[in-house]
Symmetry: none
Subunit: 154 residues, 2 copies
Amino acid sequence: MANFLGTHQNRLDAKGRVSVPAPFRNALRSKDEANGTQLVLRPSHQHRCIEAWPSAEFEALSEPLNRLDLFSQAHDDLAASLYSDAFAVEADKEGRIVLPDSLISFAGLNETVVFMGLGRIFQIWEPAAAEQRRSEARERARVHGFTLPGSGPK
Amino acid sequence: MANFLGTHQNRLDAKGRVSVPAPFRNALRSKDEANGTQLVLRPSHQHRCIEAWPSAEFEALSEPLNRLDLFSQAHDDLAASLYSDAFAVEADKEGRIVLPDSLISFAGLNETVVFMGLGRIFQIWEPAAAEQRRSEARERARVHGFTLPGSGPK
DNA sequence: GATTTTCCCATGCTAACCCATGAATTCCCA
DNA sequence: TGGGAATTCATGGGTTAGCATGGGAAAATC
């Protein structure tokens, strides 16, 4: 099970295209073996960055939704926040994706963008914001002592 | 279960490559027989050295993360600090790995580097720092009387 | 018909792959 | 038991293929 690891810098060209880093492409290929690279992009609701979900993961995410009453308020709210601002994108033969304008401006992206691996998903950041986020995450995790649920102390 | 034992010195060449010490290679081979990516490298949280995790161990470490809500703060912080600065590396036919530049500078590595076995994982150090670390660890363990959790009365 | 989008080809560069060498160790057999 | 041969290791370097990126032609949209 190859996951999304590491942080990679790539260039966003005039047409809004970026190469997905090769290691991420490989991880995607092993997940979504059938077709080419298939991703769901959405604005993160915690940070000013783009969240990228492999389509398989995204479907698993939406599965709990199916147990809600289709006409309930809860279903409506969840579905709207999950789907309405999401984009399905597919990589071209060179392994590039085009980022929608709305997401580019949401994340404040310029010429160079940063891909940040988070295991099952990854995020796309403006470089300075990414660096800030990483040190913040380190600090927070350190405060929590890197305790993982079920892994015991230290 | 063969583990990582001992301390070994090897040279870092101009391309950033190092031979993984043969005993460590054997230990890895017995763990990861199928051999995909065999190691995950990370900056240590506690010291200025590189931590090397066999991929199986690393998955075990991160497995509890999968039980967290993907949208929670806790998941975000832990995933970012665990994955975003990690590198998956694979040994070439000669048993060498390439150390990423960021990790080389983080650990302050020069021409010669030290591999330090820690049982289930190992670390990569700048020689002088490694020596200091070892004597410090010896001293601490002596003071604490080598007590291990679950090993009976001190 | 004009503008945007998608597909395809071209290029420089870097990193992975492959082969080579020397030293040190182990193995084997006299 | 000692000496020679054969492995195993660590290390160096050359070549190639993959990767990131740019730009132009076909297709689609308005």
